[in-house]
Each structure stands twice: as structure tokens, then as C-alpha cells.
Subunit: 415 residues, 2 copies
Amino acid sequence: MADLHLLSPGGFRATGVYAGIKTRHAPDVGLLVCDRRAAAAAAFTTNKVFAAPVKVGREHVADGRLSAIVVNAGNANACTGRQGEKDARRMCALAAQVAGCEATDVLPSSTGIIGHVLPMEKVEAGILDCGNYLGNSLEHAMLFADAILTTDLKRKTAAVEFKVRRELVTVAGVCKGSGMIGPRLAVSRGGKSSVRSLKGRHATMLAYLTTDAAIGSASLRQLLGKACERSFNTVTVDDHASTNDTAAILASGHSPAKFNSARAMKSFADALDEVCQALAYQIAADGEGATKVVIIKVKGAANESAARAMARAIANSPLVKCAMNGSDPNWGRIVSAAGMAGVPFNPDRCALSLSGTTVFRNGQAVPFDRAKVSAELAKNEVVAELACRDGKSEATVWTCDLSKDYVTINADYHT
Amino acid sequence: MADLHLLSPGGFRATGVYAGIKTRHAPDVGLLVCDRRAAAAAAFTTNKVFAAPVKVGREHVADGRLSAIVVNAGNANACTGRQGEKDARRMCALAAQVAGCEATDVLPSSTGIIGHVLPMEKVEAGILDCGNYLGNSLEHAMLFADAILTTDLKRKTAAVEFKVRRELVTVAGVCKGSGMIGPRLAVSRGGKSSVRSLKGRHATMLAYLTTDAAIGSASLRQLLGKACERSFNTVTVDDHASTNDTAAILASGHSPAKFNSARAMKSFADALDEVCQALAYQIAADGEGATKVVIIKVKGAANESAARAMARAIANSPLVKCAMNGSDPNWGRIVSAAGMAGVPFNPDRCALSLSGTTVFRNGQAVPFDRAKVSAELAKNEVVAELACRDGKSEATVWTCDLSKDYVTINADYHT
């Protein structure tokens, strides 16, 4: 298990190279190729301002097939007009040349600064260079994972394997995301009209998933949509949906496992959920300036959208996030955030616990050991759970604290 | 004009005293009294978690008459259950005793920490003490203005006078608000059912207005509601609607001016708007950790709610606020914030200017002098104006930048 990585599923090769787009010396162009036209699905940002690669990517994944993913970091190719679209298509054409596939079977991605035309000379050289270094080792997987990072401090990877009868199946993935995080991903069938809006959240987050499962694109679309809802769309660092958010999965079909039973499909769905959730959690943990993961759980809400609205209002409150930074059990900010979410909420019929200690019940403070709760809040994972008695719906949102470092990173990151 | 203050309108006296509720030595109990049962109106938070004084205040203003306002700072009397309500009523009873009026004609207010029972011994002594120091001088007005402050660095006051034919009329006010700011005030007629929801924003903000105009409570309610929409409800520091937000106006009727014409009423409405806007602007300028006021204007939107949604999405984006802190013309964050507001928006048909310089037009960057724009953004008032071509609606939101000091204030402010 420990050795599983993005390229463990059969049929995939990848690499990442430094092409000079990032200001620091680190891989910034990545290429992932499959040995066949893989069944594929992708979910993209629902921001009305979307980058050129998102436009092109929606087109290319529309037929449910992809052979490669080409990505650059350091420049988002967003708000770049016709030139941007031309550049995104050029990236696909070059990647196709290297991968030996059609340009329309390549998904392009970019992440970085908005509003600057891509330095295409560097990007082109980088893509061609990738052709010299493709492989399927752990090192190759790490190079690809590193090539998509921007302000991330940590590489983000996850993989699980499971068996269908006696046949092994692997689902793996890598992702990036640290700031401009609050994805509101929607699965795409290509073109504008077919984007199904999944109620979600925001980031520039990119996630690429591989599997050797022999599963068709219709199932992949459905399962990726559900998985995103329970993972990337439940993360918020700064509640800012990016122009470039993308999550894509390619299924090579190398595994002989048969997915002709509900049980087999369930195993796959669970594995996909597990990988996406592990990746999403890493985004929250690596949020810009974050010192801890803050898990907001709302239970017993009148309906699912109310549960989500409250969880997100709490998670996005700068006051709550600062209190978490200070390990301060300031429950008043949490309860009042729930009260302003614009959904049914009765403070006189709920309880709030912080990492296991009840601090508020039925409209009033509950005496608690402040030093003990503060010590719990100083840990690298904190849970705030609001238990209502208005219904049976629940929601969980992953966020992080708001620190001075977040301000430093975002006030000093100059365009 | 320069000498006008809260107590300039005839019939009002006030003061503020230090009762030991605040940790620092500054006035923390204030009392404002009118020499008669004044026509009155008040708007309160729409947060479902509202403090005891808000509940009692809604009851007391229901008949459109108030004789006094009693307020304490340092403790919000929120989430304090039955004891909290009892304490709020006790504050009214004591204030009534001092003012020589009915307890049901007193509006109570509290601001400060949530979830702690009021130190009533101190509060009671403070209210009684106020009785010894009531007056109508500038100094008395300042003492009352200071008594409502919490994390505010500056006293907030405004006043204007105008003439109806030859008779002078004055409208004046004081307010507080620095953090937990994003008011969503709704005018109250008393009781839960009669709260009319004004689409708005959030804070703990308190605002008290006086006038000598002879205007009835029905008109006051209507005009206060409109004034709040154009002032307090357009301010956001951290988009957090408080449990205690309150704006109230008392009209003594001392001025002989007749308000029996549309023109006279218009003059009053304009004066009220001007005072409320001047006060609201001061809240944005004194936002916790703020180094500048950031004015977000959206024009040419498809409808008013779309204009507001975009303006608020931009104003509340931590990424935009941090860029403003760094005087960075990072227009990509502004445009993408508009794009995720969930309303009609076409980036290919809009233009964005920063303090007068166009930086983005029709989906793409516009070349501009970065040093010059950065210098403009370093001033203490910055304007970001998004001009769409989707309709004729517009909205303005006042906010401030997000600085490390905001984090310091809110991470280190311990419960």
C-alpha cells in the first residue's frame, strides 16, 4: 500500500520538468499519458470567469475519452482572450505529438497568475522535454505531482487498491491547492449547456486521478461528480472559486476486474471517494498560512442545504478562523455565524462542541475547562460540531485557520 | 455646522460613565434621554442568534415611541438565556427611573463578548451614575459616543442641519463598529413576525440617531429602513452579522418645521441618509486592522441583486482584501470574485478600473502603469469599479483591507 502512487495503475506514464515559468527552480510543466484512449471524466470550476484551458478541456472530455493531461504551473492562462485559447490548443497539440495521440484527446490545465499570456516558448520547450523523461516509477509520479504546485508547501498524493473477486484494482491521484480555494466543481459533458451545477464551494485546485479499472465514462462522470461533492467541494481556505479548478480521472482498463455488479461498482466508488477525500484534506491542511485543519460538522439540520449553508458560514467566517488560529474557544462567533447563514436555525435547540467538549447548549454557555479546550484547539486538527434538533441532515466542511502568514502571502504576492 | 453633535437637536440629554465592564478605563455605560415620548424607529440584526437587548428592544419600539436609550459596552448580553432577558429588562427599569419615563419606553443595547452574563452590579451602578451627569453639551455627546465603543479606535459621529422654509432642523448620530461587521439590519415593528428582512450585510454595529424634526414613527420606520440599506447595510469588514446590531432614531419634535410637503420629507430623508452614510463610512475606515477604505462599485448589472451579490463577493474576498493591503493591482482576484457570485456576469462584456485607471476590459488585461496604480492603491481610500453591460443596476459596498493586524486582534482577543 505504502508504495502505491499515481502511476501504479497500469497503462500510465508521466513526468514533470522545469521550463522556467515558475520564479523558483521547480518543475512547472507536467505531462501524464495513457497507452490508450482512456475512459475519462472531468469536473471544472463553475466560476463565470473561466480560463482558456477550462474551455478547451470541456470540449476535449466531451466524448468521454482522454489520452493525456498536459499542465503548467506559474501562469493560469486566464483572462487571456483569443491568444489564451490558441495557446491552450497549442499545448494540446504538442502534448499529443509527444504522447502519440490526437490533440482532442488531451486535457490542458494551467494554474498561477491570472491575466498574463503564457510564455509559450518556455511552455512548448517544456512539453517537448517531457517526452524525453516519461516513465511510471514513483519518481515520475512525484515529478508530475510537483509540476502542478504553486504556493503549496507540500506535495499531495493518495492511492488505494481493492479487489473485485481476486483481481486487484488501483485508484490513485495527485492534486494541488493552497490559496484561492473553495472549489465549486461541476462535471462536464463538454460545451456550456451541459455543465451540471453541483452545489459546491471554491480554489485553484487541480486534481488528476488514474485508475486501471475498466469502467466506462458515463459511470466515471457520475462517480466523479459524487466524489467531488464529498471531497474537493467541501474544502474552503478563502471561499474563492478559481478560474481554473479542474478534477479529472482517466481509466485505463488494464485491470481484468469485472465491474458488472453493484458490489464491484460500490467498491470502486468507495475507493474514489477515499482518494478524493484524502487529497482534499491535504488541501485544507496546506491552506495558505494554515497551522491546523478545522473540521466543521453540522448535524440535525432541517435539510441538506441548510446544513451546508451553516457549515460554510462558520468555516468562512474570518472571526472563527482567527479564533482557531489563537486556539480560542470563542463559541459565540461560531453560533452567530450559523445564525447568519440565512437558513432555519434555532440556537435554543442546539449544542456546540469543540474537539469533543460541549461549550454551548440550548442558547447558553456550558461551563467548561478553558485551558483544556484551548489545548485541544492547539492541535493540528480541530473539530467544531454543531448539533441541531431541526431535522436529520448533516454536512461537513474542511477548512483551516486564518493566520498572519495568509495575509503576508497574499498581500505580498504581487502581480 | 462644525459644532453640531448628537445633542444639538432640542430635547435630548446624554452621558457616558465608566462602570468597570470594559477592561480598559473608558466609558462603558451610556444613557440618552429625551424630554418626551419621542417618535421612534429601530432596525435590528436579522441574525437568528440575537441578544436579549434586541428581543426587548423590538418589544419596546413596537409602539413607535421611545424616551431613552441605555447601552453598555464590554459585554453583549447574547446567548445568556432567561437571565440575559431579565438583565436587559432591569437595565430598562433603571434607565426609566433615571429618565423619569416608562421602562417600556427605553431601548436597551449591549455590545462586547458573547455568552457571558452581564455584571449587573456594575451595570446598575453605571446607569444610576449616568443620572448625575446628563447634559446636552458637546462633551456629553462625546461621553455617550465613547461609551458604546469596543475595539473601535475612533469615535464616530455625524450631524447635518437643513431648513424647511425658514425653520432649522437637525439630524445627528453616533455609532460604533470595527469587527464583526456586515450588518443585515431590518426595521422592526416589534415581535418576530413583523421583522421585514432588508437584504443587507453584517457587524456588531450600534447606531443612535437624534433629530428635532416633528416626524411620526411610521415615516421614521420607512426612512430609517431606506437609510440603513444605503449605509450600514452596505458596509462589510468581515461579513459577520452580529447578534446585537441595532440602529435607532428618536425624533423629539422640538423644531417648529412642518413636514407636510414631499419636499420637506425629501430634505429630511436626504439628511438622514447623509448622516447614516457618514457614520457607515467611518465604520469601514475603522475596520479592525484597516489601513484604508475600499469602495467597491458595480455598475450596469442585470439587476440590483446581481449588482449587490457581485459587489459583496468582491468586498468579502480575503484575496482581494489582502491585495488591497499590499496596494497590489491584482485585478484577476476582483474579476474572478465577481464571476463566482452566482449571478449573471459576462467577463467579456465588462471593464474594471482601480481608482480611475482601467486595468481590465472585455475579458482581458489592459496595459497600465503599475507603479502609478500601486501608488493610488496606497492611499487611504481606494475605488474598484466594475462596469458591466448587462443592464442598468448598480451597487456600492464599503469595506477595508485585510491586514495582519486584523488577525492579531481576532486571534489574540480571548474569551
